[in-house]
Amino acid sequence: MSRVKPEPMQVIKQRRDAVLNALVSGVPYVQFLGIHFDRRGDELTAVMPFEERLIGNPMLPALHGGATAAFLEVTAIIGLSWSMLWQDIESGNLDAEEMAAGNMPRLPKTISFTVDYLRSGLPRDAYARAHVTRSGRRYATVHTEAWQDNRARPIAQATAHFLMPRQDG
């Protein structure tokens, strides 16, 4: 039995981070909101650092519901795209340099998005994670949750349905 020698850890990490970076930095609106992603293996945590321009109610003050919704939607799309591309990242089929140069793979399109506001968003950093509930050939369903100081006290959750990009190109 011959066994392929595993790639060095640094090569794998560099490839994963390069793809994630291309996916995130290629989308202007993600940059506009200042969102970045922390990666641990294949697990992603979206981070939206607090900024004054994310405020929706200056009296409370509280984050704008639209900013929270957009944060969840970005988390859902990036999370779903990431899981969709994972196989190709691991096999090395996906060229991160090509992606960074603007040759992005086709990404899922949002069909519907339902957000529930659970607590008012405070003027501080927010975090979110996506869970791909179901991912099929044509459609996918993703659940996302956002929190701030306490993971057990989410500020909002959302369910989104996506149309997957056609595989035949």
Binding site: Y29, F32, G56, N57, A69, L107, V115, S120
Partner: protein, 140 residues
Amino acid sequence: MDINQTKIAKQFIEAIPHSQALGMKLASVSKGTAEMTMDYNKQFVGDPATGVIHGGAVSALMDTCCGTAVMSHPSSPTSTATIDLRIDYMRPATPGQRITAIAECYHITRSVAFVRARAIDEDADRPVATATGTFTVEGK
């Protein structure tokens, strides 16, 4: 709402930091309905290959417009917050075109307001997105 109240509402909405950041403008507001616009901006693009605006920016516009419709309801709530909002995306907004949201608060109780909205670009006959939501009602 008379012209003076509309002017106050306009100043109030357009002073919200996030609405300002997205360049939202209040076009009209009256008795439970509101119309808001958001100009095309390359910073709001969600798909760099096509230049189509990110759904999140459309969501933010719809949410603000729905909240404004609630506040303008004749029963005059003192404040409101979104409970939930569902958005259906019919088609991508045409790149370069301004997006307009039109919201209507069609029912209100002591504690909950029910709202529906639609978003269009310059082709008003083919909606870009529709939304339905519920909002809290304070101080009625």
